[in-house]
């Protein structure tokens, strides 16, 4: 059976030979036009005049469009229509698109786009937490608050108090393939190739911009060169621009951002400021915690509300918080509109509680792993699963962006704190699948944690300049879209008369190996070799109304939808063949490329031909919706997640106490992918996720100047991990368990959870810095060399010099 086997990525032979085709590689019709945006040069204000004469006169320019030239919706927002494709006169950040150049070549368009003569009435931008709070510049009417028990009283009565405020930086996605789209007009309809995680969103936005129904727009996505959340909504602008220009010119139109433009225009991970106050007893049991989240959302709402919600929902991470209160402010600032990024707010929330645990362990002098274990949720035990309440009927507006995570949810009553007690999260969800006790034991053993901790203490006693640190951190990550209705998926499967299978589903391939995993499911359902399954580009004409490939849900949702489609066909085949052989349909076996009915054995191809001749349909759709989930984001109560995925990591680092330079020496990871659909692909997600997470918290620093100009807009200044930044010793293993919930072959989602294993690297740096002095280091993130240097000074209580 192909499920569970460690097969290479289906497109790997194409990747390595340069034949895998990305949007910019698709051959285009003669006369294809190329697009570029003219960008604003001020962070906030209004356009007072715009003279585009030089732009229009530039070599190769065919057309220049401004907001007034757009025939229908000037809107590329995935949520509340606050993001015009081209500025309507208001400027919200440096880099906002204000006009669109259509030219004969990519270079001609880029050159012309810099020739706009635009005058502005500039206003003072809002760039910091303080400025946003002072101006009450925010999304939503006020902070969201989720609460359980009475945190204030619990903290007041606690033995030990830890409190601090610290910064968590944002993160540039740095997908290697920049944003790109290609629109091909056809008899009044539009075919759009888009590098997107969300083809339906593209379809919807393009339809609105062209003033046509969704059935007049087809979106196709074969693959992306990386997404990481950065292509959930940020591709809208390019696709809409191409479609509008294609309609206006009658020519194919293509747009791709140059790297600097990509980094200047598009959104990134939300930076957070987190304040915490937490009380512990003398044995390190947390009594209560207060969190204050300030999420830096940028200028447009985009997906910021669910991102900030998810940060709140991961403020417990692996720990049973008897009393907790999480207050979240979503601040509107004059910078790029922050967007989805692997973990979707979860990482920021998790860093918050891990910081609390680290701080408390330091103050109480308890081993940080031990303190964490004392606060874990209760181990998994069967609890009665509650059935969700009857879903209330509502009447959504069909023109709204219903498939976006930014879609508006129907309102509910204000928050009331949940009762304390039980093995429940601060949002009232019973944790019934907690496996971290066993995983932690196994990882501490395999990583030899305690012996190495002792060896590091010895090293630190003997070395003045180079200090070492080690840290453990766990991950518990909730799996499902928190916007409940998105947890559905469709698939389309054809079996041809020669037995070959054509497979399509709503998920998109961005490198995570989704297509291969889903093809393995299909091959397993039919009992055929994987080579007989053709994986085809995601296409809104084949499977409609899809959700974004996001929230780690790709395999869970689409795997089940494909299984349903395959099983429908398989059942039809079994019924027909059983009838022909006077057998019971349930006795028909599909295995080893053959179909067996009693003593009769046919190749799958022969069986398919027979079924076809018997006039039975060999094509089926499949559909799946996640059971058991219900969530009220306003109340902060319910079961937003079908299940949790777990992981744990131990990281060892070394720091240079003179300059703060630092690096990772060794990392050991144990990660829970359930019964893995493909262990090779899953280990790839874990290794890659860890390095990306560690990069976020170490070298990846976004710097804006005091005008809101992003100063780190290219790989020359924004430093993602390079080859030698991976740990010298890098041991990754999968936890061999089955999902307690009935997911596809009992596997677990693996896209986002391992990202947060990188938190252990940040904590290890804190541990090493802590070895330099007496005070808790209080590192911010990212812990660049400079931040480590600052931490060393701080812990030594000597801010004037090391």
């Amino acid at each position: 059976m192909s499920v569970a086997s460690p097969m290479p990525h289906d497109a790997a032979p194409l990747h390595v030979t340069g034949t895998a085709r990305y949007v910019d590689d698709i051959p285009t019709p003669k006369g294809t036009l190329h697009l570029a945006f003219g960008l604003s040069s001020i962070p906030k204000g209004r356009i007072t005049s715009m003279d585009l004469t030089d732009v229009k006169a530039a070599d190769g320019v065919v057309m220049v469009l401004a907001a007034d030239d757009l025939p229908f919706a000037n809107d590329v927002s995935p949520s509340i229509h606050d993001e015009p494709l081209l500025s309507d006169g208001v400027i919200n950040y440096i880099g906002q698109p204000i006009f669109l150049v259509v030219a004969s070549s990519h270079q001609a368009a880029r050159k012309a786009a810099r020739l706009g003569n635009v005058h502005y009435a500039e206003e003072t931008p809002i760039l910091t937490v303080e400025e946003a709070l002072a101006a009450d510049s925010r999304f939503e009417e006020g902070p969201r608050i989720y609460a359980k028990g009475d945190a204030e009283t619990a903290i007041a009565n606690a033995h030990c108090l830890v409190e601090d405020t610290f910064e968590i930086g944002g993160q540039e996605h740095f997908y290697l393939e920049g944003q790109a789209a290609l629109a091909l007009p056809n008899e009044g309809d539009m075919l759009v190739h888009s590098s997107t995680q969300h083809p339906t969103e593209i379809q919807h936005k393009v339809a609105d911009a062209l003033g046509v129904p969704m059935n007049a727009v087809r979106v196709e996505t074969r693959r992306m060169g990386g997404g990481f959340g950065g292509k959930e909504s940020q591709g809208n602008a390019l696709a809409v621009a191409c479609a509008v220009a294609a309609k206006a010119t009658g020519k194919a139109c293509k747009m791709r951002y140059d790297r600097d433009d990509d980094m200047i225009i598009t959104g990134k991970r939300h930076a957070f400021r987190i304040s915490y106050r937490a009380g512990f007893d003398k044995d390190g049991h947390i009594q209560g915690v207060l969190f204050l989240h300030y999420a830096m959302c940028g200028w447009a709402q985009d997906l910021s509300l669910p991102v900030a919600d998810r940060a709140m929902l991961h403020s417990d991470n692996a720990y049973l918080l008897p009393h907790a209160r999480i207050e979240s402010h979503r601040l509107k600032t004059n910078t790029q509109s922050a967007t989805a990024f692997r973990g979707f707010g979860g990482p920021q929330g998790m860093v918050g509680i891990e910081r609390v645990m680290d701080h408390a362990a330091f103050e109480l002098g308890i081993d940080p792993v031990e303190l964490r274990r004392r606060n874990y949720y209760e181990p998994a035990h069967r609890t009665e699963d509650r059935e969700p309440d009857e879903e209330p009927l509502n009447h959504p507006d069909p023109h709204e962006d219903l498939t976006s995570r930014g879609a508006v949810e129907t309102g509910a009553n204000p928050t009331r704190p949940l009762p304390s007690g039980g093995n429940t999260t601060p949002y009232g969800m019973e944790v019934s699948d907690f496996v971290l006790h066993e995983m932690t034991d196994a990882l501490l053993k395999s990583s030899d944690y305690f012996a190495r901790k002792a060896a590091i203490a010895k090293w630190n006693a003997e070395n003045n300049v180079i200090k070492k640190g080690i840290a453990f951190s766990p991950v518990k990550f909730g799996i499902s879209f928190t916007l409940t209705h998105l947890n559905q998926a469709g698939a389309l499967v054809h079996v041809y008369q020669d037995g070959s299978v054509h497979l399509n589903h709503g998920g998109t391939e961005m490198g995570q190996g989704l297509f291969q995993k889903v093809a393995q499911v299909a091959a397993s359902r039919f009992g055929i070799p994987l080579e007989m399954v053709k994986i085809t580009a995601t296409d809104t004409a084949k499977v409609p109304n899809t959700s974004a490939t996001a929230a780690s849900s790709g395999s869970d949702l689409n795997g089940m939808a494909v299984k349903a489609a395959c099983d429908t066909i398989r059942d039809r085949m079994a019924i027909y063949l059983a009838e022909r052989h006077q057998a019971d349909p349930t006795s028909v076996i599909f295995a080893d490329g053959h179909v067996e009915i009693g003593k009769n054995r046919y190749s799958f191809a022969e069986a398919a031909a027979m079924v076809y001749q018997g006039r039975v349909s060999l094509s089926a759709t499949g559909y799946y919706k996640t059971p058991k989930i219900e969530w009220d984001r306003i109340k902060g109560q319910g079961r937003p997640f079908y299940y949790f995925a777990y992981g744990a990591a131990v990281t060892e680092v070394a720091i240079d106490t003179l300059t703060g330079e630092n690096r990772i020496l060794r990392t050991d990871i144990l990660h829970d992918a359930g019964a893995s659909l493909n262990p090779a692909i899953d280990i790839g997600q874990v290794e890659g996720g860890y390095v990306q997470g560690a990069g976020w918290l170490t070298t990846e620093e976004l710097v804006w100047d005091d005008r809101g100009n992003l100063r780190t807009h290219a790989p020359s200044t924004y430093k993602i991990p390079a080859c030698s930044d991976r740990p010298d010793i890098f041991n990754v293993a999968l936890w061999n368990g089955k999902n307690r919930e009935e997911t596809i072959y009992r596997s677990k989602a693996v896209g986002e959870p391992p990202f947060m294993l990188g938190i252990s690297a940040w904590l290890a740096l804190s541990n090493a810095v802590g070895a330099c002095g007496d005070k808790y280091p209080a590192l911010n993130a990212p812990a660049t060399a400079e931040e480590v240097w600052r931490g060393i000074k701080f812990t030594r209580g000597n801010p004037d010099g090391i």
Binding site: G226, N464, D656, P715, G801
Partner: protein
């Protein structure tokens, strides 16, 4: 300009090429060879890596900042040509499949070509060979496993390229420093292009039209490295990898600093002359060379002159170079090695220095007899720490002297705050580097790169 080169083994003759057309754009737009990817368009991500073979052998280069005239007479191999004539995969390609080295696949052709080139050269220092290729998906571990797995496999015959004999293509592509001197004197406003690792970005990012341009890459006499008993002499067109190789024995810390300077691809193109002549305050060679007491050799027409290197840098963006004058060579005296180069950056590999401190302190019988200390990133130009040097010379080589000398940094430097580092961190790190030099000199472990778990 008419040029000829080999592309995947086939001769290509191009007439009237746009001198600042990049190889990447030509491959993708004109040839339809879309396997080579554009990731950043500035030579920092390696997605566009190709292999170029010339008299010096096979090298990985970034095609996004490689202008077509730079290829005259050379052999180019793209990812499409890494695969054999019958579709057989190069061992590196097969290993990348087998070891799960690709996820999204977009960086993969670039990694493959870096591996094809390093494999052809028998290089096994994979972290260094692959430092110029960024991957956002895999975390690199499976890619390095793939590279390791093919170390002992033979180089496929189809990737063994050789340069081709060519005629002089154009006066703008001079064949010697004499020809260069002549044409540059006639066109003193021309832009000189050595490796194009900086000028390339003027075209791809600033979208500047450069006309006329003069390419230096065929001036073989500028590529000489001469090591005598008295002097070490580098022609201006010595690339950074050859430079590093030549320095490995003489000044190993300098060579190690160059290992971290940009990436293999960029170092193959970048030249010592270019790194000095562009006058950048954060170029890594000038502080090292100043600490070694280097002299710069300039030429205009048939007139030659030499200047002490630190005097070449007058102010930010201003150098002591006349119109029509070019850097011919740089030299420094042979000396016992006391040089340490400390490159401080956010990322160890392939990052521009926040501070680059180079220390050359001679101690005899416990007393400092000579000190040459220079920094990049601390001022608008590469600059000597004159006051610090004065605090050291004739003093005992002791912690007390170091502490006193540290105070002098404030007199020598007023660094700035930017996206790479704050002013106070720069200043404090500069002091810390002196401390490091002293401790390292006394045998203490100070290099975080030398530590393992």
């Amino acid at each position: 300009m008419n040029i000829t080169f080999l592309l995947n083994g086939e001769t290509v003759a191009l007439k009237d090429v746009d001198p600042t057309a990049t190889l990447l754009d030509w491959l993708r737009d004109d040839c339809g060879l879309t396997g080579t990817k554009e990731g950043c368009n500035e030579g920092d991500c390696g997605a566009c890596t190709v292999m170029v073979t010339d008299e010096d052998g096979a090298r990985a280069l970034n095609s996004c900042i490689l202008f077509l005239p730079q290829l005259h007479g050379k052999a180019v191999r793209t990812v499409e040509g890494a695969t054999g004539p019958n579709g057989e995969m190069h061992p590196a390609q097969q290993a990348m499949v087998d070891f799960h080295g690709s996820q999204c696949g977009f960086c993969t052709p670039g990694f493959v070509m870096s591996m094809v080139a390093s494999h052809a050269n028998g290089a096994t220092d994979h972290d260094t060979q692959l430092a110029g290729n960024l991957c956002r998906c895999t975390g690199y571990a499976p890619i390095v496993r793939a590279a390791e797995s093919v170390e002992d496999q033979p180089v496929p015959v189809w990737v063994r390229d050789a340069p081709i004999a060519t005629e002089a293509a154009s006066p703008n592509l001079p064949e010697s420093s004499d020809e260069l001197a002549a044409i540059y004197e006639r066109h003193p406003s021309a832009t000189l292009i050595a490796g194009a690792t900086d000028v390339g970005l003027w075209v791809t990012k600033q979208l500047r039209e450069l006309d006329p341009v003069i390419f230096l890459n065929r001036c073989d006499d500028l590529k000489e490295i001469l090591v005598t008993d008295d002097e070490v002499h580098f022609g201006a067109m010595v690339d950074m990898n050859r430079m590093s190789e030549a320095l490995t024995e003489l000044h190993p810390s300098y060579a190690e600093m160059i290992r971290r300077y940009a990436s293999v691809q960029v170092r193959h193109a970048a030249t010592i002359g270019g790194n000095i002549a562009n006058g950048s305050p954060i170029g890594d060679n000038p502080p090292a060379l100043i600490a070694l007491g280097a002299t710069l050799h300039l030429r205009k027409g048939n007139t030659r002159r030499s200047v002490v290197l630190e005097d070449f840098f007058i102010d930010y963006g201003k150098q002591d170079r006349a119109l029509g004058e070019f850097v011919e060579a740089v030299s420094f005296p042979r000396q016992a090695d006391r040089l340490k180069c400390y490159k401080l950056s956010k990322r160890f590999d392939q990052d521009i220095s926040a501070v680059c401190g180079c220390f050359n302190v001679v101690v005899e019988n416990g007393t400092v007899t000579q000190a040459r200390i220079a920094f990049g990133g601390m001022a608008g130009i590469p600059k000597r720490a004159g006051t610090v040097e004065a605090e050291l010379v004739d003093q005992p080589w002791s912690q007390k002297t170091i502490e006193k000398a540290k105070l002098a940094f404030d007199k020598d430097f007023t660094p700035m705050t930017d996206m790479r580092a704050s002013a106070s961190y720069r200043l404090d790190s500069a002091k810390a580097m002196l401390e490091r030099y002293f401790r390292e000199d006394h045998g203490e472990l100070t290099n975080v790169l030398e530590v393992s778990a």
